[in-house]
Symmetry: C2
Subunit: 119 residues, 2 copies
């Protein structure tokens, strides 16, 4: 059993919008992702989702407000809430969410990833 | 709905070994705690537990190894595994675990906290 070092894990991949699984507990995954640009509007029907910024800045657009996240800040998107993650520059985030979450939620498109890599 | 800033939350309390709830999702809590000294050996029968170090250093003693955690590192203690958190100097940690977790697990003593504060 080993500690997980976030910086070391982030050094293992470069592609954006492809979350990597770095931990599993109680039916949830801990994931790391690099984000740059705009994702797609979506929601998760049955899952709440936590975004925590490890490096850089992320804006989570909701229908009625923008949530700005800097390093050391997190936001929980309740299930059912439409959201659009936007990163002007590349940012690094940690995610906590149930194993059942699909990255594009209720939508299916070229950004959808069905099987996530464990690193 | 607001972002949660870890530093701001840590500034709101000083006592050690009293985790504060700062988020809730999917039946899990996100908690922050300041730790200093040695806790008590315990395990959680049905819950895995994630410790992530935000500031300082934490050692999680297991029966057969010590897990050293620095800033930006986390460790998941599987359910049923005996552990003893030890912090030589004060350290700040984020915890992610089911709402049902009791801080002292299978033990009950002066460090047990039945009701956690939300901040």
């Amino acid at each position: 059993m080993n500690a997980v070092d976030l910086k070391e894990k982030f050094s293992l991949f470069n592609e954006c919008w492809k979350p990597k699984i770095v931990g599993e507990l109680n039916g949830q995954y801990v994931k790391l992702a690099k984000l740059k640009g705009e994702f797609v509007w979506h929601h998760h029907e049955n899952e709440d989702e936590l975004f925590m910024v490890i490096k850089g800045q992320l804006i989570i657009k909701l229908k009625d407000q923008d949530i700005k996240l800097n390093e050391g800040q997190f936001f929980i998107i309740p299930r059912g809430v439409e959201h659009l993650p936007v990163a002007e520059k590349e940012c690094h985030v940690m995610l906590f969410e149930p194993k059942s979450v699909r990255n594009t939620g209720n939508t299916q498109n070229e950004k959808t990833i069905e099987t996530l890599e464990k690193i």
